[in-house]
């Protein structure tokens, strides 16, 4: 018996029961495709986070109001962040590692232009330093200036999504939009940052702080302060300086009872990345389980096939089929099942990864394709060999008596 003949026997065996073979193959197909797609989704989302780390710049620090966990209970009163706090941080004497400071207020408003209405995700009131610290560059037009801030001019820089939604293909620079009832002149459009998660960072309107305060939020507390450190290495000393300055500003002696939080963008994203890794591992586990279930499917089918054909095995042995040949035939059947199922699964996985899934663009990990396929075939071989071996080891008369 040459390999070609064994293969022909195996194909014949599989073709004898097409539905069952098809369903088993489907099991393996889903298993392999699931591994590839789920790992690609996990990888895609951490890739996106990595990209946004690079986009944001690692020098940025965010100061926000509110204590850490448990801080709330010990702090006697929570003082909100104010523009004065921001000014204190901008003092190079007390905070030498701080490059620039941008206080922020944020709100959500509806923008109107020429009858087109668009609800803007984030309307930010801030200083020009914000652009550099948050790594936002204008693609068209220009940033607003410190002068615009001082004079509370009604000018705005808008994100690319906002621009397309309101203006379509027309250039927005120099035109007037109405945000929440206040007219703003668009001076610039930001470069597209690209979506990383569920919020579109390109759907934004950025205007001078006093203008936004005047129009929407009032001159009370601010949402957060964006601080840019002198360099990536300076973020840690800058963080300490910010803490010291704000503690004296807020009159806090106990460093465990802070009513504000300083977080570096980089560390925030690192946390997010590691969460993502957990997410990927979880997805991988789910995928592995589905692959295993596919493997059990093969075992089951092989067991059923072998049991059903035990008499046939008896006949074949009685006319002199060596154990190896019978083993080979059944092994070839299960390997063929897993090879074809796995191959189709790889195709399915690669095709499936081309679609955006829950806002994440999957990025296929090449190793996952190889491994999913190899594991599927290995499972087929391993689980197929058990019932095949059992059948081939039967004495001919035992097999023939089997009913």
């Amino acid at each position: 018996m040459n390999p070609f003949e064994t293969l022909r026997f195996a194909v014949g065996g599989l073709a004898a029961n097409k539905v069952r073979s098809g369903l088993t193959m489907l099991g393996v197909l889903i298993g392999v495709a699931a591994v590839i797609i789920l790992l690609a989704v996990g990888n895609g989302s951490s890739q996106a986070v990595k990209d946004s780390i690079e986009k944001l710049g690692t020098n940025a620090l965010t100061v926000s109001s509110g204590g850490g966990f448990g801080g709330q209970s010990t702090a006697t009163s929570t003082k909100p962040l104010t523009v004065d706090d921001a000014r204190a941080l901008a003092d190079p004497a007390s905070a030498p590692d701080v490059e620039s400071v941008a206080p922020e207020v944020t709100t959500s408003q509806t923008a109107l232009y020429d009858g087109t209405s668009h609800s803007v995700n984030q309307v930010v009131g801030t200083y020009p330093a914000y652009f550099k610290a948050s790594n936002s560059k204008v693609a068209k037009g220009d940033y607003f200036s410190a002068d615009d801030v001082l004079n509370s001019r009604k000018v705005a820089v808008i994100g690319s999504t906002t621009a397309t939604d309101l203006f379509g293909t027309a250039s927005p620079v120099g035109r007037k939009i109405v945000v929440g009832g206040t007219p703003f002149t668009v001076v610039g459009v930001l470069e597209t940052k690209g979506g990383t998660g569920f919020q579109d960072p390109d759907d934004t309107v950025i205007a001078p702080l006093p203008t936004v305060q005047n129009a929407f939020t009032g001159f009370g507390p601010i949402s957060q302060i964006l601080v840019e450190a002198k360099s990536a290495d300076a973020t840690t000393p800058a963080q300490n300086e910010i803490t010291t300055v704000l503690m004296s500003q807020h009159g806090i002696k106990d460093s465990s009872a802070l009513d504000f939080r300083v977080s570096s963008q980089a560390s925030l994203l690192t946390t997010q990345a590691s969460t993502n890794k957990t997410f990927t591992v979880l997805l991988g586990a789910v995928a592995a389980i589905s692959l295993l279930v596919g493997g059990i499917g093969i075992t089951n089918i092989m067991l059923v096939t072998v049991t059903e054909r035990t008499r046939e095995i008896g006949i074949r042995k009685a006319i002199g089929a060596p154990k190896g040949v019978i083993l080979g035939q059944f092994l070839a059947e299960s390997t063929l099942l897993s090879l074809v199922g796995g191959g189709l699964g790889v195709v399915g996985g690669l095709v499936g990864s081309r679609f955006t899934i829950v806002g994440i663009t999957p990025v296929v990990i090449p190793q996952s394709v190889v491994w999913a396929f190899v594991i599927a075939v290995a499972i087929g071989l391993f689980f197929g060999s058990y019932p095949a071996n059992r059948a081939a080891s039967l004495r001919p008369i035992e097999a023939l008596r089997h009913e």
Partner: protein, 300 residues
Amino acid sequence: MKQLLRGRLGRDGTGGHRVGDPVTAAAEESPWGPSPVIEVRSLLKTYGHGDATVRALGGEVDPVTGVSPGVDLVVEQGDMVAVMGSSGSGKSTLMNILGCLDVPTSGRYLLDGIDVGGLDEHQLSLVRNRKIGFVFQSFNLVPRTTALAQVELPLAYAGVKAAERRRRARAALELVGLGDRVDHRPNELSGGQQQRVAVARALVTAPAMLLADEPTGNLDSHSTEDVLAIIDRLNASGRTVVLITHEDEVARHAKRVLRLVDGQVVADVRQAPVDGPPPALSDPAVFAAHAPHALTSGGS
């Protein structure tokens, strides 16, 4: 032992059966000429344990000595033996052991002077493939497989090339009169035709020994005659035949008739000499005249 077996099987597997084979190594040890094809000593086969023990072969335990007598049997080269006995007397059990399909509980079985008990799984498959042609009472054809592929199967396992295989399978089917049924599957064949496919499959490898367990059990008298005629011719060409039957008409074809009762051989009658043609062929006219029924009229 392994090499010895390989050597013999190799010669057999190349096409010719063992008739007129140069004297084998095992035979040289024997002072009485060539060793018998089948030599069985104190063969015993039991099923189950304790009170539920079924003594399928070997007879009841002697109350005095505490041992079963066992079955002793010697079958010479070229003999044609019919095994008779009532249902449950152990005929099939004996046959399965002779065909290396089952193993005895105790006792020795020498096939061509080789102790089968000492062979491993692979050697046994070689023996089944090359030395023995087995015809089952219930045909036992491989389902969903054409007659031609069916008969090719033993040759495929013997490693014969496809073209040669096809040629020999066709020849075997022609021999049993099924030259026009090569592409039929078992479910498209009559019982007699299926039985003849089974016979073709058993003789296609040209085995030295044909074992048939009630080869005519489910056949009408016409098909019975067809199958028996084939078996007679095979024996006339020198092959050893052992067949099981319930019918006297079938047993008449044999050179020797064994009778089993409760797993023991109780009668051993020789009807014709070992060398020479089987009774049906030595003098066809006389044989036909003595037919109990008008078998010939039905068969012609």
